[in-house]
């Protein structure tokens, strides 16, 4: 049985269709990533699949139980960490977790053991008496995660859990997710970081409420029409602007200090880059063909819709 399944799941707000005929399946023990531009419908999808919001049509199931007709029953199986997860800032770490234990009706004896486990998992044990309001962003996220796990759910829904969290905490957060996955917990996570999406077993690309691709990261990259040439210049931004003068804008992307060029013919386009450099004061520091990242695919597929003509989330 799939851990999560959706069949034609649709949500309309007035005349806006936020989620449009969404169908997917997530196997037990999988880490599934949901990515898409702002307003694509990621949060709405999460709310539908957790039974918090009713679908306009279609249905979804968590371990075979309908998120519409059995939305109370599925709560035992589900842990959900929303973007504004409700932590009580004047309660300590421990008090926050106990509070959620009470909400979920976790028996006291079982609860204390579970709390110890969670504090160890999240490395929050040394801070258990600190007020949540005095935790840094990364620690708050880990506390939110611990609260969402107190009733030992089989499926964990995480809505952009690493927003505003520094690179070290992001890494730690993912280490925790892998540990959970080894314990057979199914993870359904949305993210704006494409390097995180690479770490998922499978990824769904949501665009204007529609799932336009759903596969392993490796297979999704096959959607990219061409190869990626990575170029380093003395000034990446100026170089990208110059390269865009002669080719489709969406085929040249800035990735930090590197320029990625989507190309059918790396040799020819490397020569183009060299001639651009020759005419300017820029310097080409290095070049190589690389395996494309999901961010290359994301930009290439969605560039034409930049800015989002679809304002609704």
């Amino acid at each position: 049985m799939s851990a999560i399944r959706a069949e034609g799941l649709t949500k309309r707000f007035g005349d806006v269709t936020a989620v449009d005929q969404l169908s997917l399946e997530v196997a037990e023990g999988e880490i599934f990533g949901l990515v898409g531009p702002d307003g694509a419908g990621k949060t709405t999808t999460m709310r539908l699949l957790t039974g918090i919001m009713d679908a306009s049509s279609g249905d979804g199931w968590v371990f075979g139980r309908s998120v519409i007709r059995e939305s109370e029953a599925i709560k035992d199986d589900i842990g959900y960490m929303s973007q504004r997860f409700g932590l009580y800032h004047d309660l300590t770490v421990l008090e926050n977790i106990r509070f959620y234990a009470d909400i979920y009706g976790v028996p006291r004896r079982q609860c204390e053991q579970k709390i110890d486990e969670l504090l160890e998992l999240s490395n929050l044990a040394p801070f258990k008496d600190r007020r949540a309001g005095n935790l840094s962003g990364g620690m708050k996220q880990k506390l939110g995660l611990s609260c969402a796990l107190i009733h030992t759910p089989r499926v964990l829904f995480l809505d952009e859990p690493t927003n505003g969290v520094d690179p070290l905490y992001r890494r730690e957060f993912w280490r925790i997710l892998y540990q959970l996955q080894r314990q057979k917990v199914t993870v359904f996570v949305s993210t704006a970081y494409l390097d995180e999406a690479e770490r998922c077993f499978r990824v769904g690309f949501l665009h204007e409420g529609k799932l336009i691709a759903c596969d392993t990261p490796a297979n999704i990259k096959k959607l990219l029409n061409g190869q990626v040439l990575e170029l380093r210049f003395s000034n990446a931004r100026q170089a990208a602007a110059l390269l865009r003068e002669d080719r489709p804008e969406s085929s040249v992307g800035l990735f930090g200090d590197r320029v990625h060029m989507l190309t059918q013919d790396p040799e020819r386009d490397l020569n183009q880059a060299r001639s651009v450099v020759a005419k300017s004061h820029l310097e080409l520091l290095s070049s190589r063909v690389i395996d494309p990242g999901l961010e290359d695919v994301f930009i290439s597929v969605l560039k034409k819709d930049a800015g989002g003509t679809h304002a609704f989330e």
């Binding site: 005095n134 840094s136 990364g138 520094d166 690179p167 800015g307 989002g308 304002a311």
Partner: protein, 324 residues
């Protein structure tokens, strides 16, 4: 740098500190930001970034030390500073139940912008943010990228010479983030100074200079290139292979590898000696029947630098504690 003409300096701080109830959030930091520069302020959560920004914006009085913003003193001229700067925080501070135009009107009221000027500035904001078709839309229904550009516009209504951005792109998708940075470049091209915090290390690469703060202390200062040279003495090898998680576990145990981390679907191995490590990695992967598709030396990314710098600091202080 130290002898630079004060007229070319937008922000300068000298031994700036802030304490809360005996806890030192910002600890004697020193730096200067030149006019028209993009200065990136990096550091882990709770390192003191927002506290610093709030002192520079005149919102929070410093405990000790000096600071000047647009030539004004951050102790005594806090009110005047507010007219010279634009400030955009992580939460955008827009009114969700107001329309796009109403939000602009509201902010122009705060900044007491004259009617004639407002008409011109409003058009500029709407065009800059690409909101022509959404003037009358409620802010609530706009996606993150739109809201972010509207908030930027509102922070710029009074044409400030210095712009403070506190994690402006948090949670915004890659395309909107790139558009946002194009706007930032346009602004600096017109002489606006930008002081920005971010957790996206690819964005840190777009800054002219960076300061890195840890535990309230400024631990690094320089251009992205300088930081890579100064703080990344080791070599970075990029490993592309099947089963990257499993590969990471076996590479981690190699004596020739100092550290290995996952970057998307590749591994970055930080190694003291490239040749020794190259051989060791090849060998251990083949022993474990993991197919290697590529193994090469790369120039380090800022994220490599950030992580290695912060971990070194963490080991040095070995506290693990952090504040608000």
């Amino acid at each position: 740098m130290h002898s630079s003409n004060p007229r070319n300096i937008a922000v300068s701080v000298h031994n700036l500190s802030k304490q809360f109830d005996g806890f030192t959030a910002v600890d004697r930091i020193n730096f200067e930001v030149k006019k028209g520069e993009i200065f990136g302020f990096l550091g882990p959560n709770g390192a003191g970034k927002s506290t610093t920004i709030r002192m520079l914006c005149g919102i929070l009085p410093p405990t000790s030390g000096e600071g000047k913003v647009a030539g004004l003193d951050i102790h005594t001229q806090r009110e005047q500073i507010k007219w010279q700067i634009g400030y955009m925080s992580q939460k955008f501070s827009l009114y969700e139940d107001l329309t796009v135009e109403e939000n602009i009107n509201f902010y122009s009221g705060i900044y007491q912008i004259e009617e004639d000027t407002l008409r011109r500035r409003k058009e500029w904001v709407i065009e800059m943010a690409g909101l022509q078709r959404h003037r009358g839309s409620l802010t609530r229904v706009l996606s993150g990228g739109w809201r972010q550009r509207l908030a930027l516009g509102c922070a710029l209504l009074h044409e400030p010479s210095i712009l403070f951005l506190d994690e402006p792109t948090s949670g915004v998708d890659p395309i909107s983030r790139r558009q946002f940075w194009d706007l930032i470049y346009e602004l600096t091209g017109r002489g606006v100074t930008v002081f920005v915090t971010t957790h996206y290390m690819d964005e840190a690469e777009y800054c002219d200079r960076l300061g890195m703060i840890y535990d309230g202390k400024l631990v690094a200062l320089g251009t992205p290139e300088e930081l890579k040279k100064e703080f990344m003495k080791e070599t970075v090898l990029e490993v592309s292979c099947e089963q990257p998680m499993k590969a990471m576990a076996v590479i981690q145990n190699l004596a020739a590898v100092k550290e290995v981390t996952l970057f998307g679907n590749h591994l970055h191995a930080v190694v003291p000696d490239a040749r020794t490590a190259h051989k060791a990695i090849q060998l251990v992967l083949s022993e474990n029947a993991i197919k290697l598709s590529r193994l090469e030396k790369i120039s380090p990314a800022l994220e490599d630098v950030f992580v290695s710098l912060i971990e070194a600091q963490g080991k040095a202080t070995a506290t693990g504690g952090e504040g608000a």
